[in-house]
Symmetry: C2
Subunit: 464 residues, 2 copies
């Protein structure tokens, strides 16, 4: 094992780090359970070494050296994943893409921009905004996550209802395969040239290759923006309003419906107690936005929604990327996490009811709530939040896992999809079979085995 470090050093010099600070910073992602385990002194170990790749060749070299030594490699972007997609082991090398930073090319006529995969989302977005353009992708992690990480996890951003998720925004990819070969997909707006190779790597969570460059199909910054808010007596009525305006073809980029519990917590001033707040951001050409504002408002009113001052939307826009510190909550005896799922319209309320009820049966659970934040013609997502008060910290992992298990089981039992946009990682791995079936797991396995026969790239993640 120390042999692999020596071999990496001779090939990559100072890009190979073994100082304890760097190693410690690459032990894990932001998974809430990893944080709890740290608190309990049972945290993820440090890796053997961290390779900070600065070029595609560095990535290929690191993969080849580790492969020939049969040493596992864990690709690491921003480290902001929340499902345990990164967890070092003492015998592994972490391959950081953060040194692959910055713009490669930008074409404002083609509306394309290529970034090296380790570029942080916020930096990429600011760069294209200098040209009056936008990527249109705002995950809450935008200032931490990398563009390569967005692809690896199949991310969705807060404005996805109009602009789409990562699969709708990426024009081309460069990926280094487990054997060190470099795959570049063609920069073309659409192709029928066999299966879409980009899709093999979107959602591969570091198990099939290492992203090194991402080319986006951009948009101009919107000509205008209007905010709107509606209050509904029930969560169900709010969902039905969304369903109806999605059906009519309206596409506000932001569509967020909070259940009464979350509305009370997030917008105590803006929304009367017991109501369910719907927050909308409309963007586009002035005329199109005007038509959309009217069209959506009519359908919301029709479902009993009361038009409200959109100050709650302003509040959300300002504070949307603030997240509480898990560590601080854990130290106060609270176990907290969010779980996003998706479902067709007929299954949303059954999933919602079943998950909330199932979580509330756990004695320690003090909060179980949800909002919907990404909608489609045929359904929407639900973003659950749970909190449990666990006096005996040693029990925190068990309570945490019980909350996840119940949410996953209630979702599956009611026909929902187990993951909307955070990925599988380790926390959902045992449930993937319920999502894609034996045959689906089988296809993922044969592809994995064919590309990475020794299971060296991010082992333990995604495929059960």
């Amino acid at each position: 094992m120390s042999d692999v470090v020596a071999r990496l050093r001779s090939a990559l010099g100072a890009r190979v780090r073994t100082d304890s600070e760097t190693l410690a910073a690459h032990r894990r992602d932001w998974w809430a359970l990893a944080e709890i385990r740290d608190l309990l002194g049972r945290g993820a170990p440090s890796p053997l070494a961290v390779v900070r790749a600065e070029s595609v060749d560095d990535v290929a070299t690191a993969l080849r050296v580790c492969r020939s030594s049969r040493v596992p490699v864990i690709p690491f972007g921003g480290g902001s994943g929340v499902v345990g997609g990164i967890e070092a082991r003492p015998d592994c090398v972490v391959l950081s893409t953060r040194g692959l930073d910055g713009l490669v090319s930008l074409d404002s006529r083609n509306l394309t921009a290529s970034f090296r995969a380790g570029t942080r989302g916020g930096d990429a977005e600011r760069r294209v905004q200098q040209e009056g353009l936008t990527i249109g992708h705002w995950p809450q992690s935008v200032e931490l996550s990398t563009v390569g990480g967005w692809v690896a996890t199949r991310a969705a951003g807060q404005f996805s209802t109009a602009y789409g998720s990562i699969e709708d925004l990426v024009l081309a990819l460069e990926v280094v395969l487990p054997d060190g070969e470099v795959l570049r997909t063609r920069e073309t707006p659409r192709a029928a040239a066999g299966p879409d190779l980009r899709q093999f790597f979107m959602g591969s969570e570091g198990t099939l290759g290492v992203m090194t460059e991402v080319t986006f199909s951009l948009r101009p910054l919107p000509e205008s923006r209007r905010l709107a808010a509606f209050h509904f007596a029930t969560f169900d009525a709010g969902l039905d309003a969304i369903r109806r305006f999605m059906r009519a073809g309206w596409r506000p980029p932001v569509v967020r419906l909070y259940d009464a519990t979350e509305t009370r917590r997030q917008f105590p001033k803006e929304c009367p107690d017991g109501r369910n707040a719907l927050l909308l951001v409309h963007e586009g050409p002035v005329g199109a936005v005007a038509a959309e504002v009217d069209g959506v408002a009519a359908l919301c009113s029709d479902e009993g929604g009361l038009a409200a001052n959109p100050s709650a939307v302003e509040h959300w826009l300002e504070h949307r990327n603030q997240v509480p510190s898990f560590r601080e909550l854990n130290e106060r005896g609270l176990v907290v996490d969010t779980i996003e799922i998706a479902a067709t319209w007929d299954r949303v309320m059954p999933v919602y009811d079943a998950v909330v009820a199932s979580l509330r049966e756990i004695p320690e659970v003090v909060l179980a709530s949800a909002h919907s934040s990404h909608s489609y013609r045929s359904g929407t997502n639900l973003y659950f939040t749970f909190a449990a008060r666990v006096e005996d910290k040693a029990r925190m992992p068990a309570v945490y896992q019980e909350c996840w298990r119940r949410t996953m089981r209630a979702t599956i039992a009611n026909g929902g999809g187990i993951a909307h946009h955070h990925g599988i990682g380790r926390v959902r791995r045992e449930f993937l079979r319920d999502e894609v079936g034996d045959a689906g797991v089988g296809v993922l396995r044969v592809l994995k085995r064919a590309l990475d026969p020794d299971d060296l790239l991010n082992p333990g993640v995604l495929v059960p």
Copy 2:
């Protein structure tokens, strides 16, 4: 080989056909070169047998029996492909999905409809229109092609600029894998649960599995429709108008720009000689359409487009699915075909100029023209038509292949993508490496080998 027919018969009874009429009807698809070869008496041979599957079990059984006998299987939907994706051999079994016909379920609240994969497109569309809904997918072959074939070939329809191509319309799939296992993807509006398994089979052209059911995410029929037409002095100016209104976020479902040659041929009455006609269909809520009509018109005028009577659009809507008979043209000494490619905006005119010039260098070529019919933020497609007058019929295949070779080479040399929506089949197979690179071909090969180790499913197609 006769052994396999006996084994299929004992498992599937009368669904196994060996009468000469059925065999002859399943020899090939609509590839223009296959038509020429027929004329020359060198047509594709009949298969050993045709299995007309009527259930998923029939498909699985046929695949298992053929696999155990190592007999190749060619999945066959509507047979309307145009790139040689189907070509029987005397030792193969053709597996027709046409007996897998009709609606499985329709949910007008979820906007979902599941059809058995052999359902013809027109039948599926008429069925959902009974509920006031639409699939929104109109390939020219809509009355011939099957919904499973749409998926297998990565089809795009005439209204794709607003409604998307097949990958944007399919919610879930059922596929029988080469070993007879059945894969069903989950009916969920979006997932981050590993790579999107649907995408492994979209564009697989019968090489990775047999589609047995397709679930669409539908739309309501549009509330309103408006037609518009503009005439441009140059093809380039017309393309720039499209680029600008796509950039602004307008999405007319139909956006068709014909070069001057095609305009003269298609719309001799409607458009002054030498001009390039742009045909538009706007659809959606009345207010949204009104805003779009104005927004698009302003940008077309700005690029020098002259607003014209939309009678050309009406003419196109009425006649859009009429195609000439290749056989009749061939008998008159004409070799004719269409070739669709795609390119980012900066590459469209270079590809157009190079392909047209390169085709016109062939002495027999009497026509080389193009239109654009599917647009995106970052580029568009070009749909070339060529015609060559070849007195010596024996030379027709050579001239045909020279036209294709030149179009592919000029596209590649100018940075275009070689296939927009017809697929690879046999006619583009030698060029796939230019599209996806050695690494891309490598990934497709390992997947193929892993799922179909004996290369029995539609061998000779797609992967070089």
